[in-house]
Amino acid sequence: MTFAIQAHGLVKHFGEVKALNGVDLEVEQGTVVGLLGPNGSGKTTTVRILSTLLNADSGTASVGGFDVSSASDQVREVIGLTGQYSAVDQYLTGRENLELFGRLFHLSKADAVSRADELLARFELTDAADRGIKGYSGGMRRRLDLAASLIGRPSVLFLDEPTTGLDPRSRQGMWEVIQGLVAEGTTVLLTTQYLEEADKLASRIVVLDHGSVIAQGTSNELKSQVGGDRVELVVNASADVQRAVSALTPLASGTVTTSDVERRIVVPVSTGSAALLQAVRVMDENGIGIEDIALRRPTLDDVFLSLTGHAAEDETPTPTKARRSRRGRN
């Protein structure tokens, strides 16, 4: 097993604040690892250290086999980085931006031109290629930004919240592009606050909170930590709730919970959709009318909530925010 990214015991302080508290991370070549956590959990700091932008206070890390601090030049040859902002020059056209970054990647002039053409076509920006970035939509800017990070055909790509602030359609588009890159063999480390995104793109998920890894595994492994599927149903009349519970209890793999007011019953089950069918049948046999019934799988939101005690999108009021002010960015 070859690891494209390996990090051990990364610690980083910003003044008094400990941003990373001994992070270990391994990303197998050709896979996508999602770094999941709320704002201030250390996701971006981790990416910045791995992409040679920051030095860790202690710990070691290598990317593509090169040490990030002693061989940072070699690391920069094999990585691409897309940050939370479209880091492109807004006064230049899309083509000029890509050619500039191509030249700075030390491609020959001809190569920079053809690489720019190729990437513009791939990201459906050919029509807008000779327009200034100022007139681009948010989604187009992000695509151009991603294109810029691919100039050097990186084998390891860092995507720091690549879809933050995009509308659902543009987000979908970005996902397809990222999936395409992975299919070609690119290793991706993706940070996100969107559980859906990690679920969709990442083969492994590492959950960070307050600068420490608090859980990792596949999406399914993490979900099984908070329990399996459950059938949720809403009966027509509150009077039926108790009767429904007795009828459903034999199907349950755990304790059935109810809410009389909402006429809602939650049945933990272990047989997935078969359990759903059984539940429908049992309700029908007992003549209990139901308003709604569904099989609900735990989402990563549930995982996050159970791991950290707060939801993923919460702005955790940690002192980590304070150090942010340097560049007034978040």
């Binding site: 704002n39 971006t44 932008l53 691409g80 007034g328």
Partner: protein
């Protein structure tokens, strides 16, 4: 696996990268011609204001208002060179806040080229501004009376000084948290430096305690050096060391600033990521 380029000596890449970055900034000037327009118009306005509004009130001895204009123009040259610094301070902070600095830093390019290219583009813009200023000066009656060699040396000095000052501006820009603060900070130190100098008024008219400060002030040195090389009036010129060695001292200031701030700025750029963290 991505090394599509042939190995090349460091200095070669440094130049290639510097030119690529400079090209970016020059393209930007053509996209936002307003910025060049205002960079050009501001010194012209200063010439006209000081020549015709204050010209009558500031007495530089014989020759009246015309003599003042001859005295003034080299001062405005020096002042313009100083004010040119604000643009790069803001530009660098903008790049930092947009994540462009971090993108550069994540590329296998030479780190010195990011600032080197920016300062080079500024130098070209400032040269254009000096040309414009010279034309305005000629229009209001200023002349370079020295030899061609002296005149050329004056322009070389102004350009060298401008280049050195943009590195100071770059260094300041790297330390500023955002473009708004950079806009103010970039100018804050320029005003006292420019006005407590011989740019607009002869040093001899200032209070005694201020005179040594004004004499050693690099802006005074530059103004005095230009006046000396252009053979423009030097009213109330004292006999202090800086006034007697203005040309050498101006070059000295320029090289000193360059020697301090260029390496400092590049080192800061290399070691300080400008982005936020999460």
């Amino acid at each position: 696996m991505t090394s599509e380029h042939a190995p090349r000596p460091t200095i070669g890449w440094l130049l290639t990268d510097t030119f690529a970055v400079a090209r970016r900034h020059l393209l930007k000037i053509t996209r936002v011609p307003e910025s060049l327009f205002f960079a050009l118009i501001q010194p012209v306005m200063f010439v006209l204001l000081f020549a015709f509004v204050f010209g009558g009130a500031i007495n530089v001895g014989e020759g009246g208002a015309k003599a003042y204009r001859e005295f003034l123009i080299p001062g405005i040259f020096a002042q313009t060179v100083m004010f040119a610094v604000a643009g790069i301070t803001v530009g660098i902070t903008e790049d930092a806040s947009r994540g462009i600095m971090d993108r550069f830093r994540s590329l296998p390019m030479k780190p010195g080229a990011v600032l080197g290219g920016h300062t080079l583009a500024s130098l070209l813009q400032n040269t254009l501004v000096l040309v414009m200023l010279s034309i305005t000066g000629l229009a209001v009656g200023w002349r370079a009376h020295g030899s061609i060699g002296e005149t050329l040396l004056a322009y070389v000095l102004l350009a060298t000084f401008a280049y050195a000052i943009t590195w100071v501006g770059a260094w300041i820009g790297l330390h500023m948290p955002n473009p708004e603060v950079a806009g103010t900070a970039g100018l804050a130190w320029i005003f006292p430096l420019t006005f407590a100098s011989s740019v607009f008024t002869p040093i001899g008219t200032m209070p005694g305690w201020l005179q040594p400060i004004a004499q050693w002030n690099p802006v005074s040195c530059l103004a005095l050096a230009s006046r000396t090389l252009f053979h423009n009036p030097l009213p109330l010129k004292g006999n202090s060391f800086p006034e007697n060695h203005a040309v050498a001292l101006s070059f000295g200031w320029a090289f000193l600033l360059l020697a301090i701030f260029a390496p400092a700025a590049v080192r800061y750029f290399k070691t300080h990521s400008t982005g936020g963290a999460a």
